[in-house]
């Protein structure tokens, strides 16, 4: 088997070479091969060939200029010099003839051990006798140092990247700056005054800026507004994103305080990173930390934004609820105000109308009494007759238009004169017999004269009747207005419910039209109440029923005592009924003028009725279907009703 370890002898004289080879073989035995270069052969080529063949060439013996062997594994040089010559400074060892085998073996052994320990320590096992222990120990120490150094370096690297070195950001940044100064020989600083713009968004970036002192703000301009993204989170290095993405500046950068910084072009930075590997470590560490911090800031911003959005939504809901409540309150206030205003208006009108109405009422009474007397005393032979026509017109009331037409037709047929019949019926002469009695034996002129006199007196009677009726109505209306205005002022009194209802029916008689009223009154005790207020309840309920019936139908009013302690009133109409959807709100305030006719109290009627009944500790209920709507009021016989609040403020003089 060919030994893998070869010693090459390359002396200038081949004879010397062969001699030395013989000496070496003798000294080394079969542990190494010894190859001799021929004269024409370059020792480096021979070493190259041997290495390619798989051999290790630890030693080349030379006596001339040192060969330049290729490859990484430079063999140890053994210089062969004449005895007494100075050792070759480039050689690893020197030998001189005459050679002694022990000496040669020692020199070769040290060189081989040194070489193999450095390059192929495994091969040392093939030359156990040759290996030099001292060299081996030195080599081992050296390796150990290297391992230690490598470990330390690895540790530093890991620490820098993964922050388990316990260094603060400031310390890491400080180290980086130290490294920059060391590697680049303290590059020049630049000072930016507070408020100055260091970098503008979108402008080209050709380097980074390492901030030594002061604070910067990173912002972007969005829709004309500056949005700050980083303040404290900006970090020491400005231009990071531009560097990472090779793009124009992503942020604008403003100096918040005076800022001292080192500008570094990308070129300069690149050079520095290549020159100082430890700068790379610190720089990368600073970059990673800066970007991590910025990223964290981004996450925080997102979380913050979500929280704000939730808060905003909650606040908006809260505001909406508040607004709804305010609107509701406002509606109530407006309605209360309307009622108060209406109350004052009613009281005021009632008061103002009181005296003129009283005067008219008196005057109408005087006219009704005195005019017939004046006619009777006129001395006219027909005085009694004419006074009779006047009085019957003044007291008798008016016939319906339908009845009048019927009578007119009958008389026209009897008399054969339609116009005459019309005039006669108009003054109340409805029978042919009566006509003949009155006008018998008169000339045409006399007849005409009498007819005109009768018509005149009839008209006076009708006018008196109208004045009387109209005045009474106005007076009733004024009285009812005043009773609304003074509601609650009369004080509590024993109150006859039926009487109150009858008054209401009387007051509303003009509105009844063709409505039939059915009364079902049982004997009931008087109750303790405010009579004026209860009157409003009956008026409102009856008016409501009348309105629902639209001029015809049956209105049923029933009064009874369901038990000795209570009186119950039921007011039933046969109108179209109240839509179910309105039934719940029927006692709510709604102010309506119903067909343009302003009806005092009635627009608010059901609400007022409800309030009055409640203050009397009673109950009011409604049931309705098409054809039957029933309001039922139940009141305690002896209670302690509460007075109305000061809504109607009309003050009696």
């Amino acid at each position: 088997m060919t030994r893998r370890i070869a010693v090459v002898v390359a002396l200038s004289d081949p004879a010397d070479g062969r001699r030395l080879a013989g000496e070496l073989r003798a000294a080394l035995g079969d542990e190494c091969r010894v190859e001799v270069c021929e004269a024409a052969e370059h020792p480096a080529d021979r070493v190259g060939d041997l290495i390619r063949e798989g051999a290790a060439v630890p030693v080349v013996a030379v006596d001339g200029p040192a060969p330049e062997p290729g490859g990484e594994r430079r063999p140890r040089l053994l210089a062969v010099v004449p005895d007494g010559s100075p050792p070759d400074p480039r050689a690893d060892a020197t030998v001189s003839p005459p050679f002694d085998p022990v000496g040669l073996r020692g020199v070769i052994g040290r060189l081989v051990t040194s070489y193999l320990a450095e390059t192929e320590p495994a091969l040392l096992a093939e030359v156990p006798g040759l290996a030099d222990v001292g060299v081996l120990v030195d080599a081992l120490d050296l390796s150990r140092d290297r391992v230690r150094a490598a470990r330390s370096e690895l540790h530093d690297l890991k620490g820098s990247f993964f922050e388990d070195d316990g260094l603060s950001d400031d310390e890491v940044e400080h180290r980086m700056i130290e490294e920059i100064d060391r590697v680049l020989g303290r590059p020049p600083r630049r000072i930016f005054p507070a408020g100055s713009t260091i970098l503008r968004e979108g402008s080209p970036v050709d380097g980074i800026l390492v901030v030594l002192r002061g604070e910067v703000r990173l912002y972007r301009t969005v829709d004309g507004e500056d949005l700050t993204f980083h303040n404290r989170t900006a970090g020491r290095v400005v231009g990071l994103l531009a560097m990472a993405r090779s793009r124009p500046a992503f942020f604008s950068c403003e100096a918040l305080t005076e800022v001292e910084a080192i500008p570094l072009s990308f070129e300069r930075l690149s050079d520095a990173l290549h020159t100082g590997p430890s700068l790379t470590v610190h720089f990368v560490s600073v970059l990673v930390r800066s970007l991590a911090r910025r990223n964290l800031r981004g996450v925080e911003l997102q979380v913050e934004r979500d929280r704000l959005a939730r808060d905003l939504a909650a606040e908006r809901d809260q505001l909406q609820r508040t607004l709804d409540r305010l609107e509701e309150a406002q509606t109530r206030l407006i309605q209360a105000e309307k009622m108060a205003t209406l109350g004052q208006l009613v009281a005021g009108i009632g008061h103002e109308l009181n005296n003129p109405v009283a005067a008219i009422e008196r005057a109408a009474g005087v006219l009704a009494a005195e005019i017939p007397a004046a006619v009777a005393a006129s001395g006219d032979p027909r005085a009694d007759l004419l006074a009779g026509f006047l009085e019957s017109a003044a007291t008798g009331g008016l016939r319906s238009t339908r009845e009048e037409r019927r009578l007119r037709r009958e008389l026209a047929e009897a008399l054969g004169d339609e116009e005459l019949a019309r005039r006669l019926v108009a003054v109340g002469i409805t029978g042919e017999q009566r006509y003949r009695e009155l006008f018998r034996g008169l000339s045409a002129t006399e007849r005409d004269d009498l007819m005109r006199a009768i018509e005149t007196h009839h008209r006076i009677g009708v006018a008196l009747h109208g004045v009387g009726r109209a005045t009474r109505r106005v007076a009733d209306l004024v009285r009812s207005l005043r009773s609304y205005a003074r509601a609650g002022r009369h004080g509590v009194a024993p109150t006859d419910v039926v009487e109150g209802i009858e008054e209401a029916l009387l007051l509303l008689g003009h509105a009844l039209g063709r409505i039939d009223v059915v009364r079902e009154y049982a004997d009931v005790p008087e109750i303790t109440a405010y009579p004026g207020e209860l009157a409003q309840v009956w008026t409102n309920l009856v008016a409501n029923a009348i309105q629902a019936m639209e001029g015809e139908g049956v209105l049923t009013v029933a009064v009874d005592a369901p038990d000795p302690g209570h009186v119950r009133v039921e007011i039933v109409d046969d109108g179209p009924g109240i839509p179910p959807e309105d039934l719940d709100r029927i006692f709510d305030l709604h102010f309506t003028t119903k067909h343009g006719r302003v009806e005092f109290g009635l627009g608010l009627g059901l609400r007022i009725a409800h309030d009055v009944v409640t203050r009397h500790h009673g109950r009011i209920a409604v049931e309705s279907r098409p054809g039957r709507t029933a309001f039922t009021v139940t009141l305690p016989v002896s209670g302690t009703p509460q007075a109305a609040p000061g809504l109607m403020q009309g003050e009696e003089p």
């Binding site: 339908r402 109208g466 003009h510 343009g596």
Partner: protein, 163 residues
Amino acid sequence: MNRVVILVLEDEPEVRAAVLGDLRPFEGRFRIEAAADAEEAEEVVAECIDDGDDLGLVLCDHLLPGMRGTDFLVRLNHRPETEAARKVLLTGQAGHDDTIRAVNEADLDHYLAKPWDPAELQAVVRAQLTDFVVERGGELLEYVSVLEGDRLLEAIRRRAWDR
């Protein structure tokens, strides 16, 4: 006989009596009828048509039991026999909408507010009836003393000329 009818439609008896009193100057020359509600007014109109008389003027309150005055006027306006009648609303309470409807749909000719001035009422009735009889054609001379004589004479002259 072909008389011209004045119809008063008013539900309150005292008011009706007052209106009829104010129409006395037209008695004799015109047939004056009264009704208390729209239903009765329909009967009266039917009777007049049966008698061969022409409905010339309706004086109508706005609020009536049952049907509103405005609705009654709109109905009259849709029937050929009564379409030509002059329509006057006499009311104290017509709302804005009702008035607009009366003017637009019932072809309302005049609007009188309560309380009314008798002289004004008579002037309105006279003017409206003058329009009616001139448009209707037929004999005009008999109305010269009760209606607007000048306009009637002018109409008579024009007719003679046209003939």
